[in-house]
Each structure stands twice: as structure tokens, then as C-alpha cells.
Amino acid sequence: MSDITNRGYAGKILHLKLSTLEYEVIPTEKYVEWGGGNGMGTALYWDFCEDKTIQDGRDEKNVVVIATSPLCGTATPSAGGRCEIVGTACGLYPESFFSRSNIGGRLSSMMKYAGWDAIVISGKAPKPVWVEIQNSLVRYHSAEALWGKDAHETQLRLFGILDRKNEGWGWQPLPGKGAGDSGYTTQIPAIAAISQAGERLQTMAGILHDAGNISGQGGFGAVWGSKNLKAISVLGTGAVKAADPAALIRARFKVKERYAPDVQKPDLLAWSFLSYPKPIAFAGDYDQSRRSACVGCVMGCRQRFSTGVGNQVKCQASAWYLAYIKKYAKKHPEEIDLNNEKQIVEISNYAADLCNRYALNTYLFQHALPWLEGLWHRGLLGKGKQVPSELDFDKLGSKAFVKEFCEAFAFRKDIGALFGDGFVHGVIKLGLEEDYKNGTLDFPYWGIQEHGYDPRAEVEWGYASILTDRDVNSHEFNQLYWNISIYTLMGLKPRISAEKLVHLIAEKLKPYVDGPECMDFSEENIYSDAVLNLTRWYIHYNRFWKNSALFCDLRWANLFHSRGDDAGNEGATGDPEVGEQVYWNAVTGENISIVDGLKRGYRVIVLQNAIWALQGRHRDKVHFADFIYEKPFEKGEFPFYMWTVRDKEGKWRYGDIMHRKLDREKFEDFKTRYYLAEGLDPKTGWPTEETLKKLKLDFAIDELKEHGKLPESNAS
């Protein structure tokens, strides 16, 4: 095999040993078999985390890995700029496990250009530090002066300290000022930073890069805070080499021609996110803006505004406070004009921007805030109440309220203090467990808020979330829910017939499934082997192509496609000219198929199951919150939840899959079959010795045995 630096890898991994403020350089070679990202990060965690039994990421023994892929820093469509963060999370319920998070922007590409495939962070710095990386130069600096600053100000200050503000837009030598020889750049460093929330070990604290790329889930901001790590700044002048550069460019041209949005003829109703031509902004249009993209994206999903406020927010974050603003505007027209879209967007952006500054996970607020509002109306929240708080919920929807609300969480005061060690933990401590159980608080898995795609309807999302470690946040199937629901809402004729769609998708899932039955999400079929195998494909794809190769979740997988007048065509996934493997092979010089990648994803998830076993996971803990089994799903984004279903005559149609609950026993049986199919012990959910050997994960056997976590006998 040729030198890995000629095929996508930088060749080195940086290990920051915070306790002694030293670092070491690890050759990447040993970890290449994992691809990159999630897989590489998991393998590094396994090797560098000495005590894998920890159940809270804020434990000093925790190890965090930031990992890139061979594709980072290349023009691979919507895969050049994602970055994976793994380690033991915090704030999950009943306890925290090894988990993952992912951010976009410029961080991973800059790491590659600086010569690093991954950064392993271990120990705890004696005092707050930030780390400067310029190519091979690595320096620790005191962060005393940055401690107490939010994640925006921290980065701006570091730009100043590093003398790399964009004033003048000139070429700068690296490393250091005027040092000459190692290269020149016109770019500013890529910085990842935590806010006051992370410093205060607030479990909903994330890590922010640039204005709005945040690692939201897992509480990794608090993990950095617990390690006294304020920020990492990376600037590089190097290159990522590809094994077959011409093949990469050829495929990039082709994907634009066939799949990426056409800006000259924007198809606002395109079926498939790969072709979606607008920024993903839910609060409305604000025309004094540009779109903003992660490195290498085929169509940016974020924006930057003439106000500078809300730069790079997107999707749910762009509108997490929107409904309250509108409600408030109705009561206070003198303050907010409901018909003034610009004003509404500005306030919504302001709320999103606050969450970016404080690097707070807006998804948590999506469901936590309505619940808190409910407590207020129930008379349980307020001064001297069961949930003591100074916040005035009559002002909910105003700018002043959102500021106070975010500050409470950022500074861990008021209600922010009550939930600082995990939201559900706080709920239980306050004596409100019933709300968690009965779904008044919509947190269905691992103490994490629901994403908008309820497990009782969109089962693949729910299954994959509970069978892994977090809200899976993986939209490959979910795209069809949006497409069909929007068409239904607008009364349009579906662009792709249900019959055609299920066949298009089933074709992509081979050999995991052998026909379109897997797309029948009717109540009778959701526990079937067909849906089980779809779920396995989904998890394996997620573990390799999405989070190890680092194809962006919003654009990939592309299982079906329609752009312009197309009636509906094959998606780009696995395509011999523009599929994920084409880019992977062009960069790495390998010759793998899409299925080979899925097998690698399988290996990653089994190793993660080994870590979870050491952390105390058992199949008995793998279940949804009670309400998922006890109450039908009635309230979503739309009054219906459209999906593909097959009727009694075997005909495919788009049908509403709302108004149902999951069956506990049937799900338990589904789990058993899932464990068996994955080579996990059905009694415990732990990997069996046989599976570990088969997947060449023998290195995990002894540690599992030592902790009594190797199942007695092989899967029955």
C-alpha cells in the first residue's frame, strides 16, 4: 500500500496531553483501517481512554477525539468540511455513554492542511488553556484572559492575538509572523471554542466553530470545560493529496450536472435534499444575506446577514424561538409587527445567535421550553415554586426574555442551574418524573429531546437512536417525509409515485433488503425483518459513509432524486459515476463498493457496543421513555405524518402514520432479532466473542472479559 499521505491522509495524529501540557505525534497508519471520523475516533478512544467504564464525560479520565476523513479538505461534494467529535458524552439519561457529535465549516479541512488527521485530547490542564496549531507547530497558551468569554468573543480575540484578522486580506507567512518558509496563506485560522456554559460544565454546552457551526449533542462543551480547554485554533498551509485527482474532479463536475441544485433554474420543490436550492431557514427570507457553505459543499444551507446577527444559523436553530415571537407579537403589536417578516427573522436570528455565542444546544430548548412554559401555566414554576425561577414567562417571545433564558443556561443560574447536570436528571430531582414518563416532556430516548420525527411514526429514526447512543439525526429516509408532507399540504400531485419511490429506495439498500417491503411503515410492518434490515443499513451507513467518511447528513445519502421536471430518478448514493465510493476511491486509491463501506460501519458500531458494554449498558436499558409505548403520537410539525405504506391489496401509497404508539413487547422482540442479526448477545446486547473475532476486533476481548462483559456463550 502506498504512502498514506499520497491518498488523502495527513499522516499524523496529535495527542494533546492536557495534564502535563505536553503533546505527542502518533502516526495515522495504524488507524487507516477505520477510514476516518467516527470509526477512527472510536478506535483512538479505545486505545487512549484507559478507563472505559466512566459514565459522565466530565470525568478527567475521559478522552475526546476530533477526527477528519481522507475527504476533508478536498472538493468531494458536501464532504470536504465535516468534522467528527467523539468521547464519552454528558447529560444523557439514565447515564452517559460514549457518543458522537459533528460540526461543519472549515475546521476539519484546516486540520488536514496543517498536517493532522485527528486530535486526541486527554487529561485535564492544571489551568485554563487554549491550543495554537500552525502546521506542525503546537503551543499551549494560558486561557485565563479568555475564561468567562463567550464562544464568539473568544474566537475574535484569538484572531487578534494570532494577528490574522482579515484586514488587508494579504498573504501571511506561517508559522508565526514573518517566519518565512513553511508556507503562506490568506486564510484566518479555524477555531473551535467553548463558552461560559462549557466552563461551568453545563451539560447542554457545545463546542462552536466560526459563527454558527456547533457540536450540539453530547455536551462536549462541558467535556472541554472539565478539561480546562477553552479553544483550539488551527491554521495550515499544506495539502491533501488524492490518488486519482482527475477522477475526483470528473465526478465533482458530474454531480453538479446531474444532482446538485441548478441555481439558474432553482427547483424549490425538489425531492431530495441533495438538490435543494435554498438555505435551510425556517424563520423566513431575509434578502440582505448570502448563503454560507461548509468547505466543499454543493449548495450551502446557511446564511450570513447584513446585520451579522445569526450568521450561519440554519434549520431548527434558525427558528427555535419563532413560535413564541409570533405569539408575543400578537399581544404586543407595538413591539413586534407580525406582518414584518424582516423584523421577525431578525429576532429569530437574535435568539439563534445567542445560542451560538453561548454554544448551547437549541434542540434541547425546542422541547424543554414548551414544557417549562407549561409548568409556568400549571403554577409550578416561578418565585418560590416547585421549580424556583425569577424568569417572567409572560414575556416569553420577547428579545429580553430570550436573553435572560439563554443566560440562565449559559451561566448555570436560575433554571439553568436546576438542569445543569442533565435535563432529565433535573426533572427527576424536581419531583416531576411523571412528566418525563407520560411525554409531557417529549424526551423519548436517552434523556434527549425528540427531533421532530417521533419514534412512533418514523420508526427508523427512533430505532436507530435507541439502538445507538443519541438522537441519530440522519435524514436519508426522513427526506421523503418532508417531501410528501409538503406536497400533501400544498395539495400537489406527488412528484414520484409511492410505487416508484419504494423501488428506488429498496434498490439502494441491497443486499440488506431484498425488496420494497422495508418501506412499508404501516403499523403491521414496523417490527418486521424488512424494517429491521433497513434499520441496520441505516446505522451502518451512518457509522461509515456519513460519520467516518464524513459525507454531510443534509445532502447524503441520496436514495432518490428529482430535480426540475424529472419524474423521479435514482439517487446519487452508490452510483458508479457519482456515488460516495467514487470519491472515496479517487482520494484513497482504494477500490471499495458502497457495501464495503457499510461493512466498515458495522465494525465501528460493534466496537462502540463493546465500549457501551463496559460503561454498563445492558439490553434492559435500551428502551424508549414510557409514553412512546403508552400514548399515541398526536402532535407533530404537520397534522399528519406522511410515509410510504402498502395497503391490504399490496398496493403502495402515501399514508398518514401518525396516531399510533409502539408496542413494548414487539419492540423487545425486534431488539432481540436486531442483536442476533448484528452478532450481539440477545440477552445482554453485548458483542459476542465470535463476532469480535470475525470482525478482527480481538483486541477488545480481554478488556470485556476482565469486566465480566463478554457474554457467557455465543448468540443462540
Binding site: 493529496k241 485527482p245 465533482r252 439558474q264
Partner: protein, 235 residues
């Protein structure tokens, strides 16, 4: 390598060589000449130019990575001949700056080169380009370029300077590049923020290469088509 005799009265050898260097072609040397009675060389105009829209670009740097890839077989922002600079904390439209070579009419970089490495390539549509075999890495061309950031790049590994050749010399591009062929950055840009034109933009106008490439369809996806006067960054 090439004919060292001047073809036109009054043209000194050095200026003459700037035109011919690396091309090895003497027959078309008539494309450049000295203004009679002066020591000034008139360079044939480039047959193509890149113009950009700084308010349209989304900062994906795909153009930079692809530019470097087709020339060098590796993706590097430092080796890209187009430079996109951005700061996500700034306000639109000042958060992005795009820098392309102007293929200047009387290119200061060509004039500054002491060894005729930076030359007008008459085989490839009169692009201003650098012959790496001749370049001695003195960086005088970089100093001479009147724009910020400088539109030429110093490659610390080879210790040579390079610049945009409109993709004429691209070993890793399947298609024919150069004027009349493919410009990789133009073709790869997802939003059409770079355009190739044949008409020379007004020289000495610091805004002439920054044009408005937004139209109705851009408004349809939620953004403005307003004209902005965005600074090119003249030294």
C-alpha cells in the same frame, strides 16, 4: 532555446523574451511589440478573463480546492490561484473577498520578472503565466502585482511562483483548459459566482472584475440582486 534576435526595431531582448519565453514559438512573436520611440512593450491582450461576484459566493472554497487539484494533484488553499477569503463574523457583504488574477493589460508582474519566466503565453490565448523551469523564485512579480492579496502564489516546496493560467496547464483535468476551454473554478462553483469573459474588463477600475452575477433566480432562492461596490483590495 528560442531565437534571441529581436524581431522589431527598438525592442530589447529582455522584453522580447517575455513574450516568447517557454512557448518556444517564434513565428507568432508579432503579437507583442514596442511602442516606437519608447522602451515600453505592448503585450497582446489575454483572450479571456475571470470576473467574480463577491456578494454571491458562499465561501465553500470548492474553486480553490479544485484549482489546486487540477494543477498539482493535491488540494491546498495555499496553492490555489483563486483566493476566497472569509470571516464568518463579519456582516454581509463584507464577509467574503474574492481574488482572481486580472490577466492585466500591461501586466506589472510580467514586466517585473527579471528572467522572463513570467510571460505572455501566445500559444494559450496570451495568458500571463509563469514558466516554472525559468522561475528563480525572486518574487519580484509578487511585489509588482497591484492587488491585495497578491494574485500570485509562492510555492515554498518548489520555491517558485505560480499564477492563474486560466487552466491552460492542468495535468489533472480531463478537459482542455485555457482560453476557449474549461476554467475549473468556473465549472465547479455551485452558485455561478465566477464567470469567464472574453471582453477585457476596464483596467484601472478597482471594481471592474467584481460584477453582479445575480439575477431573478437568485432572488427566488431568497437573496438580493442589488449591486454592491466591493473593494478589490488595491495595494
Amino acid at each position: 532555446m528560442q531565437n534571441s534576435e529581436p524581431k522589431f526595431g527598438g525592442m530589447d531582448r529582455r522584453t522580447f523574451l517575455k513574450v516568447l519565453a517557454a512557448s518556444g514559438v517564434t513565428a507568432t512573436a508579432g503579437a507583442a511589440f514596442m511602442l516606437p520611440g519608447t522602451n515600453l512593450m505592448v503585450m497582446p491582450n489575454s483572450k479571456g478573463y475571470l470576473v467574480v461576484d463577491m456578494a454571491k459566493c458562499m465561501g465553500c472554497v470548492s474553486c480553490m480546492m479544485a484549482c489546486s487539484m487540477v494543477h498539482h494533484g493535491e488540494s491546498s488553499l495555499s496553492l490555489s490561484r483563486i483566493q476566497i477569503q472569509q470571516d464568518a463574523f463579519q456582516k454581509f457583504p463584507d464577509d467574503i473577498h474574492m481574488a482572481v488574477c486580472h490577466q492585466c493589460e500591461d501586466a506589472p508582474c510580467v514586466n517585473a520578472c527579471p528572467v522572463e519566466a513570467d510571460h505572455v503565453d501566445i500559444v494559450h490565448g496570451n495568458i500571463r503565466t509563469i514558466d516554472p523551469d525559468r522561475c528563480i523564485g525572486c518574487t519580484q512579480c509578487i511585489d509588482a502585482c497591484p492587488w491585495l492579496p497578491k494574485r500570485l502564489q509562492f510555492n515554498p516546496k518548489t520555491r517558485k511562483v505560480q499564477k492563474c493560467d486560466l487552466c491552460a496547464n492542468t495535468p489533472y483535468l480531463d478537459e482542455k483548459g485555457g482560453p476557449g476551454g474549461t476554467q475549473t473554478c468556473v465549472k465547479v462553483c455551485p452558485v455561478g459566482a465566477i464567470s469567464y469573459v472574453e471582453k477585457m474588463p476596464k483596467q484601472h477600475d478597482p471594481y471592474a472584475y467584481n460584477v453582479n452575477l445575480r439575477d431573478k433566480s437568485w432572488v427566488e432562492v431568497g437573496h438580493t440582486d442589488k449591486d454592491f461596490k466591493l473593494n478589490e483590495g488595491k495595494v
